[in-house]
Symmetry: D2
């Protein structure tokens, strides 16, 4: 299988993390999936991803002290493989795992994804649990000093045949459930791991082992790597083994993070190809944070900032995973997710190119190699209203007119230059006509 | 002017440095140009580049102590602009600069290039020499603490209107001489400069000033930046302002340097486009080093290594500047420079992609987007004979046959895999048929 | 208690590591102690230290794969406190711990020491074992991401009252056994821990907690911190809380390591005071390595190098812990350990001062503030015989004669200078007369 | 000569920089010297130091653009040696240099010091000026790429016999003038130099050359090295060759800088010895900044902060160089500089020791080895009033009473503990009785 065929365009969907943290349950996943199917599927949104600690007992029950309870129990089979927590995912009982939930998601015309932590459960290593198909136990496969900085669940897997066997066994299980998408965490940037090696890229062999296991399993499972920032020197390796890789640490609804994404997109703009997507992380829109222990909140970005975010993600060609609780979706947020013209920019044939960036403004252009459509985007990164200008003289010298994709406003250029007044943190994205 | 149009394919030519160091003179340049015109021009080689210190008096006369004599005199006009040393370039007398030499080179159907050091002569700063068109003197334009680590000639130019005026004045002069190519040194990687800023990219404003001055001068002058290694985080900036940029420190005829180039090509493979070329540096072939004070030598790479070098440079799409003394060109070296099929790989439409690399082998593929021709290259990086294999199953699953570009040998694949025995440091480059 | 009073001079003794690795047992400890008592005690050697993993089941039984078997069982009481492995330390059965062994050691007129790893057993955290005197279990005290890079036994202890309670409970236990010396590992330099903080000094709070627990226990237990290199910026903190701290990574019988110690002694020479000793690590003399799985070996340093080592350690004032299997002690090694005049240098009143050091030689001086005795040492660090000179004109201008402490040879100076021929890696240490 | 005898106690005096920047002239130096002689000499203040650019023409005349005018003329003799600018130092005319000024200072019972930049004048290098006693010119002695980051006057001196000859020639000249103190700049921490080597300690050889030249000149000239922060790893080298070395970058009247000095004193507390002084930099008290181009100002530290500064500098044993314009000295400032009991702390026999430090408080103790006097200091580093406590139980368990050195207030301890309420940034310094 050519893994690039698994995701010919950037994956779009919903992810449970931004609203539910570690606490999401089966009903909540299904409820969100129904909204996705009904309102967003027609625009290309199709993945439903259950994020971190679906296997953890008592997940989220000590949220005042810990995001992840240290040394709490995890649901595990006799082969050291994690299973869904039956209290939260009752349909998984009887050894069915995520099979029934995946089936439900599929029945809505959607695809099903899960989050995993790199490695093998610490619980399995300390209890010397078996590994499928090989005569060793988990204590011989886990590396005692390869631990995640922020999550206590796993030990890294050794680079050996038994380690590959373990990864083969879990991916085979996930494939049997009908998993279409795996977001693997603690693997993309490992700067905080012990020991430090190779520019924050210490677990290269685990990336390769997982990719290999997917090939063996024979199911087209999209592979997404977290957390970022991804290591630019390893761009070729991400492209070879994964479908998407996070180019930023966790993104939230904060202007400074959004502004910072412009430098990350600048860095990665030449590394986008079909099946290979630098990932700007989830879209923290709408209602957020219900499972984080302090009450839900509304996306704290201004409307202008939200459009700027959507524009940058689409223009750049990032995967789109919305974090909102979809059962509470409002009209404004819906409008952001269903701008057909903007979403056309996602196609990898539509190569973006940064023309200018400084601390106060950014200018990008993009051209769809198939349709010939041309776009230019102006971003006001300053904290006050500004006149932002773009110069397309080198690129498209004969350009004269365009139409803004959010407002429909028409614009005229002079000598292939355009200039518009923009509110603080606002943007304009124009299709040239 | 769109600077990408100045060099639609990677520039090819001859450079004086590898043989002459700082000492080259007019007759030597002309003699090499004549060989280039006669034997290599038909294969695309066209630039004749005079490298470092053409303006320096006594250049090379203290070679046992200094490569560059500290605080020696430089030839300079009343506007702080360097001129050719008249002892070595007699035709430059009478204010003619490189005009007559450029004219000669052009008469051979070739193009003319020069090397410059970033900045303004220290001599001008200390003598308070004028700057053309502005009412300040050089002491107000040079930055006293912006000095090159290895060359004592210049001070960096301040980021101000008078600094731009200085760069405008020199590029205008070079354009008036007929210069077609500028290799600007001490500007691409400035890790060794004071003060340290921005990831070894302290002199960004000087790159922009020179590019702007070229636009103003109105002559299509190719801009080449040295030394490397270029800063990968700044890839977009190099592409925006320059035509080529060195991705390595000085390259010489040494296997370890050649082996190291594979990691640099891996890093930069996604950043090649028409008019934008990551540069592997000169080809130290044939007779070398006559001006370095210790007698000339023959290229110290084995024949296998020389072919490996040519193959990698062409496949990757690097500019090609041969360093050999061309009047002493032998048949073997000539054969390396005139392999038409190999040189076709240089076209930027022919995008390279590394498939595998480890300490002992590398495998690359390339496909010409226009002609549809497909290539695969196998490199033996180990110090002993090895069987090297490539797997094209994902890329071109139906592939079966190919022809080697150096030997004409035919090869057959099985299941889109090929495997060949290669001598130490040798390579095979195949056009698939 | 003033901890500096626990060790008014640098501790001297025997440590099990260099010979036994993780495998030492009760009889072996006793046998070595008897030799120490008989032959070395009269010269000041008094500590008998049981080094790493005395609590580990099966220690050393997978030496071909692991120095420390991952996730193997450890002997532990109901309060998460490690106990000696009863198979190797039978007298510890019945809850007696190291009490009987300590009693035996004390009966020989010696002191008893043990090695501990910073933290609380992983086994205790994963099994939620109790902590003495506080109502939480070990999973709430251990930090899941504070793990040692090279040993899999422990999790770091959190900086909280319950963490202090745990340390109090173990030190109280050790004090009840009669422990006089604790070598705490994975705490002095933590550069390899996650997360990285404060210049490799991430576990400052654990040092303070252990020191506090010793004060509470009310027994004068010498505190020794490992591994090095200690962080020079934290010198004041080591001095405040510990008695000795390793200034080097593990030292072995290798000239390059010995040569490197000269730069470490240079660095730490101003930080020696009564009760406060920068530690050059054990003396790998005599028979070594019996427990490392590949057969014992004889110290690989030449005789000259062995004298150089002893001279530097004594002159500098390092603690002295011999690593030899003492039951196999030969005459030569015995002579190194029983040079009374040399051992007088150890007194902290005898302040050392490096006069010169380069890649080929080092010169030190020392003056005993109480006795007024003056010393100078010359070291040949070069790989060939050399004439090494010292200039005492500034320090002791009227000096004229001296006597070498290993050979008894007399020497005369001229103008307060001395100069001697020394074999490769040899030294001369002179008491001035 | 033993250089430690040049300064048996930390040097105390006045320095022109904090008030005059580069602009000080002869009359101003004399006027300040007279006040120093009359009011401060009885308390130990004796050095009068002329700081940077006394040789520079037009110094300070472009203060809106440059602190140091690039490539401006310098006063220089035929042997590349800088001389005082005759416009500002008229008595220097006729080749007399600073001789007459030094004589005047000496006549007041004071000592005379000057500032120098490491290196040889760039002007000398570019004009190929002679070097005394050797047959080479300055272009062969200066290193073109060894330049100061912030001052444009000099090139570093090569490590060769001719370089030593140059340093010999300038120190001989200064000695002939009667110079007693040299503050050498751009040499103590060279992190910003090219090329980077040895932990910011690239110009070790120039330190050694200057020290050697002082020995040859035969005059006891105190050697002070700037700027900081000094490199802790090189403590032994500073002690061997210099009398004082800056442990901080430029210190000014700013609380954050003052607070930061506590961490620097913590770091260097073990490295103080007679003739060897870590230097906290000048005391920016009273009237400051008259020559900095923006009008003079009054010290911006509060009175409490000023006492904290004086207390720390004295307790730590730093050299004391007051920066105030002394002709405008007010009573408060005078009182700070003339606290006899506090100044007694300066003696190097009085060894300081930090007992505690955190972000909000610091506690130090000191004991005079000769007089037996004991001191403890409490510092409130918090921004609000705090109760600050010190525990002397380990150090001086029987202590009960003390007297504060600024206020005369008496204090009682309990169980060798003391605790006082202190205003923000205030301190108490107690002599125990």
């Amino acid at each position: 299988m050519n893994k690039n065929a698994f995701a010919p365009t950037p994956p779009m969907g919903w992810n449970s993390y931004d609203y539910y943290d570690t606490t999401v349950n089966e009903e909540q996943v299904k409820a969100n999936a129904r909204v996705l199917a009904e309102k967003l599927r027609p625009f290309g949104w199709e993945y439903v991803v259950v994020d971190i600690q679906w296997y953890a007992h008592r997940a989220g029950s000590m949220r005042d002290q810990f995001q992840y309870i240290p040394f709490a129990g995890v649901e595990m089979d006799q082969f050291s493989r994690l299973l869904p927590d039956p209290d939260r995912f009752p349909s998984s009982r009887g050894g069915k795992g995520f099979g029934p939930l995946a089936e439900y998601i599929h029945s809505l015309g959607l695809k099903f994804g899960i989050h995993i932590m790199r490695g093998i459960p610490r619980q399995a290593a300390h209890t010397h649990t078996k590994i499928m198909n090989v005569p060793v136990t988990a204590d011989m496969v886990g590396e005692p000093n390869s631990v995640c900085r922020w999550n206590p669940d796993m030990y890294g897997v050794r680079d050996c045949a038994e380690g590959q066997a373990y990864y083969d066994s879990i991916i085979e299980l996930y494939a049997s459930w009908g998993v279409d998408f795996i977001k693997c965490d603690d693997i993309c940037n490992t700067d905080n791991l012990v020991p430090h090696t190779e520019l924050g890229y210490a677990r290269k062999h685990e990336i390769e082992m997982i990719a290999r296991a997917i090939q063996k399993a024979g199911r087209p499972i999209v592979l997404s790597l977290s957390p970022g920032p991804a290591i630019i020197e390893k761009a070729w390796h991400y492209k070879k083994y994964a479908n998407m890789w996070r180019i930023t640490d966790d993104f939230w609804d904060d202007w400074q993070l959004l502004k910072g994404m412009f430098s990350r997109c600048e860095l990665w703009q030449d590394h986008i190809a079909p099946g290979c997507y630098p990932d700007c992380d989830m879209l923290p829109l709408g209602k957020l944070g219900g499972g984080f222990g302090q009450g839900e909140w509304e996306c704290r970005l201004t409307h202008d900032e939200q459009r700027t975010m959507m524009t940058l993600w689409c223009l750049f060609g990032s995967p789109l995973m919305v974090g909102a609780e979809l059962t509470k979706l409002d009209q404004w947020t819906l409008s952001l997710l269903t701008n057909r013209e903007l979403l056309e920019l996602l196609a990898p044939q539509c190569q973006p190119e940064q023309l200018e960036r400084n601390d106060e403004a950014a200018v990008w252009a993009a051209e769809n190699q198939e349709t010939g459509k041309r776009y230019v985007a102006l971003f006001n990164l300053a904290d006050e209203e500004r006149q932002i200008s773009g110069d397309l003289e080198d690129l498209w010298p004969s350009w004269t007119e365009g139409i803004e994709l959010w407002t429909g406003e028409r614009i005229c250029g002079e000598n292939a230059k355009l200039s518009v007044g923009l509110r603080p943190h606002a943007c304009g994205i124009y299709r040239l006509t």
